[in-house]
């Protein structure tokens, strides 16, 4: 496994734009990634509620049923366990289903199928049956949603062996990672930061697929004084924090995990051994969250390099708050700056 220190920058913005590069919104980038995967392999099919003529409530599947037909873009009954359970059977027959769960809070009717079946069938059959199923879940807050429309349940899935859990942070990664998730023979929980759906960025539509984005973190911004570890919607927060810190004369490195199962421990460790400080940011509650796992790993592997304890900024151990107050709950630049200040106070 290469470490981050050895890896080169691969973000689209880091190189000259290719002629195949377009400016796309995050949601359109996933749409194009799905289209590319479906053109590449006719076993790829989409399943979910309202994903056909409507194109999904976030329009991520817009136009795909018109292009690929009702057999490959399936409007399912309103039953999430059924979506995942039938996707498992389709995978057994050789298909590669991509399931859309309409909102984060609606994944729980399918929780049993995901954690006791999807995650275990490859192991149960000693590798005879693979489960190339992707479950797309729009997640996270910040869009003024009602109850169950702003949650971040990713840690619940990372705690189950057999699943891969990833979350892209940019349109380019969204485009590439959805294709790599579909190509994976393992089940992938694909968490899409819904607050970023409308944000635009460059996407190289001919970017190579097979770049191991499901296993590797990526340094978004180089720095020397503190490592900000984030994924999904929190990467933007981390970058903004790093920009604010730069004005104060502090140099922050931003590491986008991309995956929380597995965690690219080597990348995190390499960065923190360099900077000596680590702040982990995610929207999910910090209590038993991904940040706790990262803090433990960093503490064990960077103990003598650390200038301060690993700190976490994230949600509280409360139900996701009402829309009127969600911006106080979500990890903001100010709260991350506060954590960085505390790290420097040691």
């Amino acid at each position: 496994m290469t470490t981050m220190a050895e890896r080169t920058h691969t973000t689209a913005s880091a190189s000259e734009p290719a002629s195949s590069t377009r400016t796309l919104s995050f949601s359109k980038a996933i749409n194009e990634g799905l289209r590319a995967a479906m053109r590449h392999d006719d076993k790829v099919m989409l399943m979910g509620e309202d994903i056909g003529p409507l194109g999904g409530v976030f329009r991520v599947t817009d136009g795909l049923q018109a292009e690929f037909g009702e057999q490959r873009v399936v409007d399912t009954p309103l039953a999430e366990s059924g979506i995942v359970g039938t996707a498992i059977g389709l995978a057994m027959r050789g298909y590669r289903p991509v399931c859309e769960i309409q909102f984060d809070g609606f994944v729980f009717p399918a929780f049993n199928q995901i954690t006791t079946q999807l995650s275990k069938i490859h192991n149960r059959t000693r590798g005879a049956v693979q489960m190339p199923v992707v479950i797309r879940i729009p997640y996270g807050g910040g869009i003024g949603g009602v109850e169950h429309h702003g949650e971040s349940p990713e840690a619940l899935f990372a705690h189950t062996a057999g699943l891969r859990v990833v979350s892209p942070s940019s349109p380019q990664d969204a485009y590439t990672m959805i294709q790599e998730a579909i190509a994976s023979p393992d089940p992938v929980l694909f968490f899409e930061p819904k607050s970023r759906y409308w944000g635009k960025g460059p996407v190289d539509l001919e970017a190579p697929v097979g770049t191991d984005t499901l296993n590797t973190a990526q340094v978004i911004r180089q720095g020397t004084d503190v490592t900000l570890v984030a994924y999904g919607p929190s990467v933007t927060t981390a970058v903004k924090t790093a920009e604010a810190l730069a004005e104060e004369g502090r140099s922050a490195e931003v590491l986008d995990l991309r995956a929380i199962s597995p965690i690219d421990t080597a990348a995190v460790v390499a960065s923190v051994r360099k900077t000596g400080r680590c702040v982990v940011i995610h929207e999910a509650p910090v209590f038993f969250g991904a940040g706790a796992e990262i803090a433990a790993r960093v503490t064990e592997e960077c103990f003598y390099a650390l200038e301060a304890p690993v700190l976490r900024v994230g949600g509280f151990h409360t139900p996701y708050p009402v829309a009127k107050h969600e911006h106080e709950y979500l990890p903001s630049v100010d709260r991350v700056l506060d954590a960085v200040d505390r790290a420097f106070a040691h």
Binding site: M1, M45, Q71, T76, P77, A79, S81, G82, V84, G85, T86, A87, I88, G89, L90, M92, R93, G94, Y95, N112, Q113, T116, Q117, K120, H122, N123, R124, T125, R126, G127, A128, V129, Q130, M131, A161, G162, R164, S184, P185, D186, N215, S261, P262, I263, D264, T265, A266, V269, V272, R273, G276, R297, E300, E301, C302, F303, Y304, A305, L306, E307
Partner: protein, 389 residues
């Protein structure tokens, strides 16, 4: 035949063979009688052999559990007609999704008998390769596999397999009366119905979900659940191998010819315990058990075969010898199952592609077992933790 389900309401139930082993001629059942009549004496003897061997498998496995050789066993005693009769209607290209008690089905599908006990030995979470006999491994979370069966059938549809009563492909899933209360089973019937998926829902109503009688699961006869979802649904005498065979064959042909899903309730009785850990004396009467012993599915078919001159002492001796051979094979084979190396058994096949967390934990554990664990549990090369700054 009609039975009652605790109420006074008579429930229409297909029966072609009465408990005394006489062929039954009831108005409206000609189609089913024709299917049963197409079975030759040799076919019936084959069913009988499979039912007797299924019971022998049960007895041997129960003994092995009592000797401490199996962690657990779930006997199928009493359900041999439901299982063997339905499995005889299957074709090799059909796909089976069992729950965990379908020893008769697995026997007919040709699975190795020792493999069928790997799960109960505690040496495997599955035990066989599903692709070799088009038969999935056991699913322990009740009812979850009925959705897999439905999805598999949706895949069969997309493959464009021929609509033909012989060459078409059907899917069958087995589940019990308790499972009918699970959301997944109800969702599976919805998905199957709206997609016209070629799947047969085969309910073995053995009347007991561990200790809970069917009255704790339903107010109506369970075949009506299928009807309510728009599935052609039929209740059959589950201890009548002819009725089970005929009804299943009809439903499978419906699936193979593109006519969608069906639901069969085989009304039977779990003569034994739920598993070797269960104690039925705490929740049901010996009178009820005795009443069902008199309806034993194997005795019923034996009576028919004798009456039709198809069962003699030689054939009985042949099956007995085959059963003895099966018993010896099970005793030797099960004792030899040790689950392989702990590391391989635990860490292999968690993922199909390398996963950093599993790889690091495996490497660390192997080194620990070898007496030389590295400082890092996370496969970080330099374990000096960055050194003092």
């Amino acid at each position: 035949m009609t039975t009652t389900n605790g109420s006074n309401e008579a429930i229409p139930t297909l029966q072609l063979l009465d408990p005394q082993g006489n062929r039954v001629t009831t108005r409206g059942t000609k189609g089913y009688r024709d299917r049963a009549a197409a079975l030759t004496a040799e076919d019936l003897r084959g069913m009988y052999r499979d039912m007797v061997l299924t019971r022998r498998f049960d007895d041997e496995a129960t003994s092995l559990q009592r000797q401490g050789e199996l962690a657990l066993f779930a006997p199928a005693r009493g359900q041999e007609a439901a299982q063997v009769g339905s499995a005889h209607a299957l074709r090799p290209q059909d796909y089976v999704f069992p729950s965990y008690r379908e020893h008769g089905v697995l026997h007919v599908r040709g699975l190795d008998p020792v493999d069928r006990l790997r799960f109960f030995r505690g040496s495997d979470h599955g035990g066989w390769n599903p692709t070799e006999h088009n038969t999935s491994v056991y699913t322990i979370v009740i009812g979850a596999h009925t959705l897999h069966a439905t999805g598999y059938a949706m895949g069969v549809q997309r493959d464009g397999t021929p609509h033909d009563k012989n060459d078409g492909t059907a899917v069958i899933t087995y589940f019990g009366d308790g499972a009918t209360s699970q959301g997944d089973v109800n969702e599976a019937m919805i998905y199957a119905a709206v997609n016209d998926a070629p799947v047969v829902f085969f309910l073995q109503n053995n009347q007991w979900a561990i200790s809970e009688p069917t009255s704790r699961q339903t107010k109506i006869p369970l075949y009506k659940r299928g009807e309510a979802f728009g599935l052609p649904s039929l209740r059959v005498d589950g201890n009548d191998v002819l009725a089970v065979y005929a009804a299943t064959q009809e439903a499978l042909e419906r699936a193979r010819t593109g006519q969608g899903p069906s639901f069969i309730e085989a009304f039977t009785y779990r003569m034994g315990a739920h598993t070797t850990s269960d104690d039925p004396t705490r929740y049901r009467t010996s009178e009820q058990e005795e009443q069902w012993r008199r309806r034993d599915p194997i005795d019923r078919l034996a009576a028919l075969l004798r009456a039709e001159g198809a069962l003699d002492a030689d054939f009985d001796a042949e099956i007995k010898a085959e059963g003895d051979e099966l018993g010896a094979q099970l005793r030797d084979g099960v004792r030899a199952l040790d689950g392989g190396s702990a590391v391989a058994s635990t860490f292999d096949d968690v993922y199909a592609t390398p996963h950093g967390v599993v790889a690091a934990e495996r490497a660390w554990y192997e080194a620990y077992e070898a007496g030389d664990p590295p400082a890092s549990q996370y496969a970080i090369a330099d374990s000096a933790q960055g050194g003092a700054r």
